[in-house]
Every structure is written in C-alpha cells, then in structure tokens.
Amino acid sequence: MAASTKAPASGADATSGARRQQPVRIGIIGCGAIAEGAHLPAVLSSPEVELAAISDLNAARLAYLRRRYGLGPIMFRDYREVVGHVDAVIVALPNHLHASVGVELLSNGIHVLCEKPLALTRHECEQLCQAARSTSSVLAVGFVARFFPCTELAKQLVESRFLGELRSFAYEFGTPGGWSPLSGYNLARSTCGGGVLVVSGSHVLDQMTYLFGDVDVISHADDSRGGIEANCRTWFAATVDDRPVRGQVVLSNTHRLPNRLRIVGEHGTLEVRREQTRSVTYLPARSTLRHELTVAALPSPAAEPDYFQLQLRDFVNAIRTGAAPRVNGEQATRSVALTERCYAIATALEEPWCEATLERLTRARPPAAPDAVAGQWPVQAGVS
C-alpha cells in the first residue's frame, strides 16, 4: 500500500499548521527534455508549490533554463545541495540513477515524485520503498497515464463486469522513433534498463496490472542484439473472477501500430485509444454499432487538463494529507518486476531480412589489421 503514512512530512517543518497552507518547496532533479517539457511548466503554473531548486550536472543546461524561464538563484550542480532548500523533489534523471538518488533524498525526509520506471530492478524498487517507509516520506511515481479519465473509466467498466466474462486483452502501441532524451541515456541498457518495454511499455504494464491485477508472463520475444529492444511481443496470463484471461502486448519503436488497448468480453469489445484520453469505445458483439463512453462529470473538451499538473496536485495532496498518491512505490514495483521477468525469458523475434544475406556481403573482406588499434590506423599516402 501507500508508502506515505504521515502528513505533512517535510524535513524542516513537518508539523506546523502554518506551513500546511504554504506552497510546498519543490526541486527538480535532472533537467532534461521531460523536465523542461512537462514538469517545469506544471510546477511554475501551480499555486500549491514553489520552485525552490533545480539540479543538473550540465551547467550550460542550468544556465539555459535560468534564462529561458527567468529563474532565481536556485541552480545546483550537485543534487545533494538541494537538501535543506526543498520539501519535495521531482526526480527526472536517467533511469539508472533513480534508485541511488531517490534513496538518498528519501532518507533525508524529502518527498519524491519519481519519473517512471521507478528503478531498473525490483531490488532497487524495494530499497526505495523501504527508504520512504523509514522516513514516512511520500514516494509517488510518474505514471501520468493513470490520470487520464479513460484509464479510470476502463477500470470501472472492468470491475463492474460491463463486458460480462472477460476473454482476452491486447495492447498494441507503436510509433517510428520516439522520445529523444538529451543525454542519450535511452541508447543503452545500463542506463535505461531496457528498450521499448521500459520506455513505452512501463505505462502499459502499469495499466495492465491496475486493470487486471497480478499477471504472469507466458512468453516474451524481442529484437535486442545485445543492446535495447526496439520491438517486443509478450503474452501475459491474468486471473479475473477466478477465470484465466490471456493478453498480448505488442510494442514497437520502428513502426506504427494501432495504439490502443482492446479488451474482449462476452458482450463485446472495449477500446482504449492513445489519442482518446477522455473516453473509451464500446463495440457490442454481433453489432456494427460503436458507442463512445465518457464519465458523467467530464469537463468540456476545451478544458482538457494538463495531466502533469494533475499528477503534481496528487503528489502535493499526498504530502499534505497523508493520503496515498495515485501511484505509489509498491504499485510501480510491479511493472518493474514484470519487465525483469520478460527479459529473463526473452527469445529472439524473427527478422528474416536481418541475417539472410550476411554471409554474402562480407566475402571480400581483407584481414583485419594487426596493428589496428583505435586511432592508430596507418595513414594513407597523400594525407597531409
């Protein structure tokens, strides 16, 4: 359950009633693309928080952000220096740094909203949860898709047995290319933790466990060749109402897919589409009708909220009231554990175009140079 148990739990002034009404002093640790594009605008537009620190190793990046957003003297090259200046932080660092930085800050009584995935391994996730518990700090995880109305609506419909007996589910999400982190941490398993299964898939795995409860991995195939996978296909088994339900997840960062979740039940099919955050589509069995379902209290389309703001508000609420955040450390651990399991049993996707011709392409290869050490290749005649 929730990592947070006590409120308010800021390091400096935890029990002051006056403090409770003051903005939460917040820091942003890691100032890459997601920090600038999503978290910084949410923080700057929220009356509930005050931006008290931003931290990044890259001094030029800090200087750019200070100029661009007219920020005061709140820049820190070393994240440790934010302790004492903030009540809470948003950790938007490369994935491999989430655990070490998060544990240190939580241990100092600082509340943490950590970008997804929570960490690279289940063990690291457990360390983070333990650090949060031991200091009664909030550990929230940035699965922003959980704030989409369609996620809650799908959850309600599944739980209310709207589709009758569930038969199967299928996630298909794919787009050529993707998010471009400035540091390039996304290009290596050691810093990202994996490929498309981590980058896009962590949202899918989180939503899947939210909708269907605990799931097992049946099979996983991907196209990694020692690096990170760009494509994967995974089969899962869930148990809903004591009946087995199988589901497939297909993810790609090289080609476009329908970008939807389909849940097939006795009475019809439910579609949750990426571009449709406010509603779900119901296709009754043996009918050509399509029904768009929305929640009753949905605001007008013109008032589409900033979901990162909603996530921040949820985090602040957890800090102030002691309520559990929408996604806490324990919940986020489940998707990391599933990722670990997938990689442990991974087989290779079939890519006949990849190997079929290789032998013929290098027949004329001359021998490798005996002295061909990087940077010491013999210089060709005429090069001055």
Binding site: R360, P366, W377, Q380
Partner: protein
C-alpha cells in the same frame, strides 16, 4: 596500399535507413566496429538494438564532429538534411577527417546528380553530372567538395551513386505501398522504362568494398542491382502485395507540376465570358477576328478544362509525383565499373530482395493478412 580493413568507422546518418542497416551489418558480421553519429537519440532505436559506441552530436557543430572522429579509421558519410547539414555539416566532417588522419572517406551520393532526365551517356559514370533537381544539385555540390579534399589534402575519398534504394525500412517501399493504397500511382506508357533499383544489402556490400579495396580511392561508382527491372515489374509486384490494380496512363495525360499549372490556370480565366465583357477593347478586337479564328481560340481555352472547381486535379495523376516522374527516366545506370574495380557482386537478386521486403512490410503491419508467427498465441 591498404590491404587491411579499417576497424572503427564513423557512420554519419546512422539513424537513417541506409546507415542503420550498414551499422547492423558491421555489428553482426564484425566487418568493422561502427561508431554511429546520432543527432536525435529518439531516432536511433534500430541501431540501439546493438551495444554500439554512439557519438551524440550535431554535424553543424565542428567540436562534436571532432570528438566523434577521435579514434576512427574511416568515415561513411550518409547524413542528409537542410542546407546547413549538406554544406557545413559535410565540411566539418571532411575537416575532422583530415585533422584526425582518417584513412578513407566514403561519400554516399545519388544518381539524382544527373537530374530528372539523365542523358543516355549516363549509363556509366564518365559523363559530367548536371542536375535540374534541388536534391541533385545539393548532392553534386557535396561531391565537388569531397573531391576538393582529395585534391588539396590527398584524402582517400570514394563516391557512390545509388539509385532508388529498396528493402526493409526503405521509404521507397513504404511510399510505394501507401501511394498504391491511395491510388496515386499509374504505369506511364506501360512502365517500360528502367526503375534503377538497388537492394539495401547490395549497397551495403558496395560501401564495405569502398572501405576495403585499394582501387576505390578517387573513384565515383554507380551502385545498382545486377538485373535491370522495369517500373512495370516493380510497381506491379508491390501492387500484388497491396492487392490493388494499377491503372495505365499515357505521359501526355499527366497533370503538370504546380508552376506550370499556375500559368495555365491563369490563362483559363480568359475563357470566362465575364472576363471578356469587362475589357471592351479586347472584346472588340476579338469580334474583329474571323469566325474560324474565334472558334480556334474558344476551343483551345475550353480544352484546358482539366482542373477541378477547387483548382486541384480530379482523378488525374501528378507528373511531379516521385513514382511518376521517375518513370520518365530512360537510362539504366550501370554498376559495371564497381564490379570491375571493386569486385562488387550485388549478391541479392531482385526476387530475394522483394521477398525480404515483403516479410518486413508484414511485420510492420503495412500489408493486410495474417500476423507474423511471433504474434500468434502460444500453446497453453
């Protein structure tokens, strides 16, 4: 003479279709150790499947190019982009190549350097190139810059000119499938002209030979498939995959490019009686013409009625669509020189290339039909 293969090769444009496959082949065969130069990390998914030594930077930033070049033995330059990348980017790479005493520079150009209507003697590389296409001109200017570095610095440069490159991940294949689906393609005059194709892996073979062979420096090579394939065969084969029929049209029926249409549509306004009524002197002059001459003028103007109400052609094929404009090229460029000097074999036939392309198109969900085997549900 270099009898050995370069070990570490900087590949610019590594996140693209050709660069991606080149890095993949190098990594899978050990032919070389690629260092992919990456501008946008979100575009590098295909090559990030391998644990490679990525260099992240901007070709227009000389310092990041110099950093990437450190420790490299050779360069394959595939990057393309806006004017800055084509000029300053290439200049930065060439300069760093000389500074770091890199042994070979392979530049990937294009047969677009011959323009939209290559003369018959461009079958071989001997003819001086001249282009009427912006892309062809940019490539031609790049070739001149590369050759200048050979003259001034003695750099071992090799220039390869591929035609349409097809295969898995190719925009040629994706564009063809999409154009067929939207009925934008027709066979012009039976599609009898040569399509000038090279399968991606054949081009990769040529790039590797350009890196390895001592005969390569200072030379320009066409790189094509072994067998010439007509547009008729190429388009019909793709149409069979999509499951559509391809219409036939005569070249004369194509709608001319926008600039030509602008002039013609402006003249069409003259056919409007309202227009004439507002210019009395013109009307009077027209009335003075003999009836036969007046009929000729009226008929000419009415014949131009090919443009729809909103100014766009209706059910007509655009002459400047790449797959239609390409069909007007009559020359089949030959890679005989590459075969003779480099030992280029183009080991993948057109049929095999199409089979592999089809396999990828199915996985990429660009064709209808059964899902790939990996996607079917495993046994309980």
């Amino acid at each position: 003479m270099n009898r050995h293969s370069p070990r570490r090769v900087l590949v610019t444009g590594a996140t693209g279709f050709i660069g991606g496959r080149l890095c993949e082949v190098m990594a899978l065969t050990g032919a070389a150790e690629p260092r992919p130069f990456v501008h946008s990390t979100g575009a590098a998914w295909r090559i990030a499947r391998f644990p490679l030594d990525f260099a992240i930077g901007d070709l227009c930033d000389g310092a990041s190019v110099a950093r990437a070049m450190k420790g490299c033995d050779a360069v394959v330059h595939l990057a393309r982009g806006g004017d800055a990348v084509m000029r300053r980017g290439l200049e930065n790479v060439l300069r760093a190549t000389v500074t770091h005493r890199v042994s070979r520079f392979v530049h990937i150009s294009s047969v677009a350097v011959y323009g939209s209507q290559p003369p018959p003697d461009t079958v071989s590389e001997a003819r001086a190139a001249r282009s009427d296409l912006p892309y062809g001109n940019a490539k031609l200017e790049q070739e001149r810059r590369v050759l200048r570095y050979r003259r001034r610095h003695g750099l071992d440069v090799v220039i390869l000119r591929p035609p349409n490159v097809y295969g898995p991940f190719a925009s040629f294949a994706v564009g063809m499938v999409n154009a067929l689906r939207s009925y934008d393609i027709a066979l012009i005059d039976g599609g009898r002209n040569p399509c000038n194709l090279v399968y991606i892996d054949n081009l990769v073979e040529a790039i590797l030979l350009a890196l390895w062979r001592p005969e390569a420096p200072g030379q320009v090579f066409h790189v094509t498939d072994r067998e010439p394939v007509s547009w008729e065969r190429c388009i019909t084969d793709h149409a069979a995959l999509v499951g559509v029929a391809v219409p036939h049209v005569a070249a004369a029926e194509l709608v001319p490019p926008a600039r030509e249409r602008l002039l013609r549509d402006s003249l069409r306004a003259l056919a409007d009686p309202e227009f004439w009524r507002r210019i009395p002197i013109v009307q009077r002059g027209f009335q003075w013409l003999p009836e036969q001459a007046r009929q000729v003028v009226r008929k000419r103007l009415s014949d131009w009625e090919v443009v729809g109400r909103n100014g766009s052609p209706e059910r007509r094929f655009r002459a400047d669509h790449p797959f239609l404009a390409g069909q007007k090229r009559t020359v089949a460029h030959s890679s005989a020189k590459a075969r003779r000097l480099l030992g280029y074999t183009a080991p993948v036939s057109y049929d095999e290339g199409m089979r592999l392309t089809e396999a990828w198109l199915r996985v990429a969900r660009l064709l209808d039909g059964d899902p790939p085997r990996d996607e079917r549900e495993p046994a309980a």
